[in-house]
Amino acid sequence: MSAPSIFWLTLFFVVPTMLVVAISFHAAAPDGGIGKEWTLHTWRSISNPNYPAIIWRTLWISAATTVGCVILALPCAFAIARMDKKWRAFMAGLIMLPFWTSFVVRVFAWRLLLHPEGFVKHLLLAMRLTQPDTQLLYNSGAILLVSIYSFLPFAIMPIYAAAEKFDFSLLEAARDLGARSFLAFRKVFLPGIRRGVISAILMVFIPSVGSYVIPDLVGGKNSELIGNKIYQRTFPDRNLPHASALSALMAFAVLIPLALVAAALKRQDRKEALRLADGNPVKQRGGAA
């Protein structure tokens, strides 16, 4: 890493993070500010059994959102990458189109759709797919649905960028050698766009862990996420140390899966480096099964 990027990261990432962690070890001042004295009081109150449940819910909804987005993004990106060049830019534009509307407005629109008198409810009732008293809003399912809707473009774009560079004659070669379409997709296409998929995972997982607008608008009392708690501590409660402690906790919750991904990438890179080192073939059999 070069000096400017270290400076940049230190100024805008390391220092603010340290500040947040530091604040969590101060007491809350009654006026909403931060007390001078150091204390472990906040961290002790966080061991409240409510929090692990909320963090767990945050993680699984984020993970499910990520999986849902990637699964939907793969065929979508594949289809766009196979289109004519002139259509590709148009389709990519369509995918970015929702960003022309405010995020909050788009989430709010889902409240109208999922409302007990809303369009989706009526449609499902007409198709006899739901009961009249089933609540579509204010639960984890609603959060998941709206999260997938909101973050899908962030999954499609990196996967599409990778798929566009993919050599599709490799898929023909796999088919030619006897692989069914899906096997060719799995054995040749997925490894080929691996980096795009990893970017998509990060681009969806990280913001969805921190999201609070979606659970606030379409979630219910029993489906709060960590983002809502941080919001509550920061604004209505004016308890900045508590909000900081929760933020630090969430940061660790994100860092652990991230570290796992990074380690996996590093292992892959080492293999690739070996692969490129001439006369030093990788002595292992495997890969395709």
């Binding site: 030619d176 692989a179 080929g192 692969r275 001439d278 059999r285």
Partner: protein, 397 residues
């Protein structure tokens, strides 16, 4: 049911308004090295892709070993393709690439190992088995692609311009290697190329294609020596076209009146009569260019005419001359046989004699005006703009 091994029956394929393959019927024998030769856009690759299962014909059927494979997807055909860019899987080693089809077909592990090792031996790549495609050279990639396509012994191997990406020396080497591999495995090869040299040196038979149909299907020597059409004559090698009418038929020979030439004698193997218009193809290497008339002891039937040398292109093993008669530009080739001992040197502007034996001219059955454009011809003389004499610059003196 067609009896040949691989049969195209009236196959047509259109892309929008373009008819890429136009009612092609074709029989290929088992074990044959068969080439589809033609300029780009002639439909040869489309024909190959229909055989591989990547394109579906609009009409017509394709049979392989008596089975109609027209509607089978690529993975259910025992037909493998060598792609122009090799299409090796970059995320797999050479070994895994070759093993791909066997693994997909769920061969037992020991069987896979045995077969892959045999192929590695055949292509002499055993030392590189665990390298990735990015680590090996173009020629090696080519060999891996061949091994990968042959390892599960397909019924037909399709080769789509497989040597196009290699440099000249490597291409010549791979030609020999392909020939050896074909002899060893005995699998039917269908080879697509626009390079007549490749097709000539490898094939048992060649189908010359043009604009979606087959112009001629014959062994290489027959394609070259006895072209059916002007297109074949001009596309394969180089030639001179002479257009005339028959004035006299005398046994195996006939006399032609060609504008600007004395009577031209020509071997006649076609069904013609006096007065028929004919097109004659005479290959440049059949024509002699000499400063003196042909010796008196030569066959008196030889066609001789006087002309003037307008262009000379030195090509190493031979020199190509373009000569001008009153009405035609004719090209002729003279090999350099002995250093300094060749006949008197011929140079630009010389008045020379051109002559060829009547048996070396070949009458064409089909000729279109467009065929004449395929003949190599230097631009018909530049007229350089007259530049005023350079002013002597003061610095030079």
């Amino acid at each position: 049911m067609p009896s040949d091994f691989l049969v195209f029956e009236n196959v047509t394929k259109r892309f929008g308004s373009l008819t890429a393959v136009d009612a092609v019927s074709l029989n290929i024998k088992k074990g044959e090295f068969f080439s589809l030769l033609g300029p780009s856009g002639c439909g040869k690759t489309t024909l190959l892709r229909m055989l591989g299962g990547f394109e579906a014909p609009d009409s017509g059927r394709i049979y392989l070993d008596g089975v109609d494979i027209t509607d089978l997807p690529p993975n259910l055909r025992r037909v493998h393709t060598i792609f122009q860019n090799y299409a090796l899987f970059p995320n797999m080693t050479v070994w895994d690439n070759i093993a791909f089809s066997l693994r997909v077909a769920r061969y037992p592990k020991t069987e896979i190992r045995k077969n892959v090792d045999v192929m590695l031996e055949l292509i002499k790549m055993a030392d590189h088995a665990y390298k990735y495609p990015s680590q090996i050279s173009g020629g090696q990639k080519q060999r891996v692609a061949i091994a990968r396509a042959l390892v599960d012994r397909p019924q037909v191997l399709l080769l789509d311009e497989p040597l196009a990406a290699l440099d000249l020396k490597l291409r010549q080497h791979m030609l020999l290697e392909l020939d050896i591999i074909h002899d060893q495995v005995g699998i039917t090869f269908v080879y697509v190329t626009h390079d007549q040299g490749e097709a000539m040196s490898l094939s048992d038979r060649i189908a010359v294609m043009n604009r979606g149909h087959i112009e001629q299907l014959d062994p290489p020597a027959k394609i070259y020596e006895a072209p059916l059409s002007g297109f074949v004559a001009a596309f394969i090698g180089d030639t001179n076209f002479l257009e005339g009418t028959v004035t006299e038929i005398d046994g195996d020979y006939c006399k032609l009146a060609v504008a600007g030439f004395p009577n031209i004698l020509c071997f006649n193997d076609k069904n013609i009569s006096v007065g028929s218009p004919v097109h004659l193809s005479v290959r440049p290497e059949k024509i002699r260019v000499t400063p003196t008339p042909p010796p008196a002891d030569k066959d008196p039937r030889i066609n001789v005419f006087r002309c003037k040398v307008t262009d000379i292109v030195y090509q190493g093993t031979y020199t190509k001359y373009w000569v001008q008669t009153d009405s035609h530009r004719i090209s002729a080739i003279k090999p350099h046989s002995r250093f300094l001992l060749d006949q008197d040197a011929i140079t630009w502007g010389d008045e020379v004699y051109c002559w060829w034996h009547p048996d070396d001219g070949y009458m064409l059955e089909h000729f279109t005006a467009a065929d004449a454009d395929l003949v190599q011809m230097p631009p018909a003389g530049y007229s350089l703009p007259k530049t005023p004499a350079a002013q002597p610059s003061p610095a030079a003196s």
